[in-house]
């Protein structure tokens, strides 16, 4: 059977099953608490499914495998290790956050610091960052579908837009149901792709021995040819120096630790014990999935040391599946990549909607808004935000993995200290939280404009985080003294 026709069959089957799984959420959703946190009722299995599916995005699937292909194992230090360390802080967060009756993360700022402004500012950061981050998922999906179904990229990204709209309109109940399907598909596709690569390279040892000899330019637009041995070197033989590699923790790692999409998974779990077990077990599952991605990325480079027809690292995986390790089951891998993009995008649109409708509109404009109007507003916002992301995806970023680290960095410089400081430090105060939020944000934007990564090998979230620390602690100590005296 023709390749495109086979893929179209898989695609159609996935669409039908996704429609079936998604429709249940519409009936269950009656108010904002249903819509955003599924009445704080999710059990362990569903929580793990939705946490893992939200985590494992197009950045994990295409960004990571492409970066491993181009730059080797340095990618693990640049992205994966920071993600897991961020998850460790999430365990700390879960131990305290569940005792607060909140629907959104910025609502905690309101409760802790008695500041509606800080809640609204948090909502605004969420809206902006998630609209930008969803571009990653739309681009990831678009590359895959246009490659496999042999259709135009623009048409492909309109398809993902419709998928994401549908699964998000039903709120977290819909998202959790479709995530359970999606994580199953992601695991199946990842295992299958790793198995096919491993079979063709002749095992892990042979793969590493051959990878050590590679000295080609991975694709024409890559900044440099790979030095022999660089794929297996922790710092890619100087291409990614230690300073840049380790400061990425301040973007990816701390950004994940303060990320509203994971905080919402914590609040939607039925209790603290479930939330903590969800994080621990999800990370173990993710570690196994990432081991598969390492094999896929490095093994693909061994099988095809250079790809002349692609323009970025994000296109490596679809190319390899379609041209290098093609089998009649490749459609499963196609569907798994789509599932990774959709399951993350719908969760993120949900969080973005909460930022707008709950943290900005209900908080500042109309605190007595009815449940019906709130749901209508959420769905209208999801439509508008999804459309903006779609339009921005027409001119996407070069690398999903680097771009994603920048976006997550905004959470580390704004949310991290007000959140963890508020939960674990009695002296944390409103003035310190607001000043560090603004200072960290300004510093990070300045560093991005100055290009600190290219000039000084520093991830821009690192100076941003230092500034937010330098403001938060002294300001809180200063304002604490007069209050203690009172």
């Amino acid at each position: 059977m023709n390749k495109s026709l086979t893929y179209l069959l898989y695609f159609t089957l996935y669409t039908i099953v996704l429609l079936f799984f998604g429709k249940g959420g519409f009936k269950k959703t009656k108010n904002a608490r249903d819509f955003f946190v599924a009445v704080n009722s999710l059990g362990l299995a569903v929580s793990i499914a939705t946490f893992t599916a939200t985590w494992f995005s197009a950045a994990s699937m295409q960004g990571l495998s492409g970066s491993l292909y181009a730059y080797g194992y340095n990618t693990v230090l640049y992205a994966v290790v920071p993600w897991f360390l961020g998850a460790t802080l999430l365990v700390l967060l879960a131990s305290r956050l569940k005792s607060h009756d909140i629907i959104t993360l910025p609502e905690y700022f309101h409760l802790r610091y008695q500041s509606r402004s800080l809640q609204a500012a948090g909502g605004l950061v969420i809206v902006m960052t998630y609209i930008l981050y969803i571009i990653i998922q739309i681009r990831g999906f678009g590359i895959v579908v246009s490659e496999f179904l042999d259709i135009n990229y623009t048409f492909a990204i309109i398809l993902v837009y419709m998928f994401v709209m549908y699964t998000t309109f039903g709120g977290l109940f819909s998202v959790a149901r479709t995530d359970s399907l999606n994580i199953f598909l992601i695991i199946a596709g990842t295992l299958l792709a790793a198995g096919l690569v491993l079979r063709d390279v002749g095992g892990v040892t042979a793969m590493h021995q051959q990878a050590a000899l590679i000295s080609t330019r991975p694709f024409p637009a890559a900044p440099m040819a790979t030095a022999p041995g660089a794929l297996l070197d922790p710092f890619a033989k100087g291409a990614y120096p230690p300073l840049l590699t380790f400061t990425s923790f301040f973007g990816w790692g701390l950004g994940l630790a303060a990320n509203p999409q994971y905080a919402m998974r914590i609040t939607s779990a039925k209790d603290t014990r479930t939330a903590i077990r969800m994080i621990c077990l999800s990370v173990v599952l993710l570690a196994a999935m990432y081991l598969c991605m390492f094999i896929i990325g490095i093994g693909s480079r061994v099988l095809q040391p250079a790809i002349e027809t692609i323009h970025s690292a994000d296109e490596v995986l679809p190319y390899v599946i379609n041209n290098v390790i093609y089998s009649r089951f490749s459609g499963v891998i196609l569907v798994s990549i789509m599932a990774a993009a959709i399951s993350t995008a719908n969760s993120q649109l949900l969080v973005a909607a909460s930022g707008f409708s709950y943290d900005i509109y209900r908080n500042l404009v109309n605190p007595r808004v009815s449940d019906e109007k709130m749901l209508l507003l959420n769905r209208a916002f999801i439509f508008v935000a999804g459309t903006i992301s779609l339009i921005l995806s027409m001119n996407p970023p070069d690398s999903l993995l680097i771009y994603g680290g920048y976006i997550w960095g905004f959470f580390s410089v704004t949310f991290l200290l007000p959140l963890y400081g508020g939960l674990f430090w009695k002296k944390a105060c409103r003035e310190g939280a607001m000043a560090s939020f603004a200072g960290g944000l300004l510093m990070m934007v300045a560093c991005m404009l100055l290009g600190t990564e290219a000039r000084f090998q520093l991830h821009p979230a690192f100076p941003g985080f230092l500034v937010s620390c330098a403001i938060f602690f002294p300001v809180c100590l200063k304002y604490q003294r007069p209050r203690s005296a009172e």
């Binding site: 194992y73 693990v76 230090l77 994966v80 290790v81 897991f84 360390l85 998850a87 460790t88 999430l90 365990v91 700390l92 131990s95 892990v204 040892t205 042979a206 793969m207 590493h208 021995q209 050590a212 041995g229 297996l232 070197d233 922790p234 903590i276 077990r277 994080i279 621990c280 990370v283 173990v284 993710l286 570690a287 990432y290």
Partner: protein
């Protein structure tokens, strides 16, 4: 670790830094949860 490094065809430095940090970071959430559980037990006592 050295034997595994030889078996998998990876340089020891890579196995130590990448493999070690990967495993440690993957286990870190569980270690943190265990530490928190111990603290809770001590509080109860």
């Amino acid at each position: 670790m050295i034997i595994i490094g030889t078996l998998l065809g990876l340089p020891y430095k890579t196995m130590g830094i990448i493999g070690g940090l990967f495993l440690l970071s993957a286990a870190a959430p569980t270690l943190m949860a265990l530490i928190l559980a111990r603290q809770e037990e001590h509080k109860d006592e």
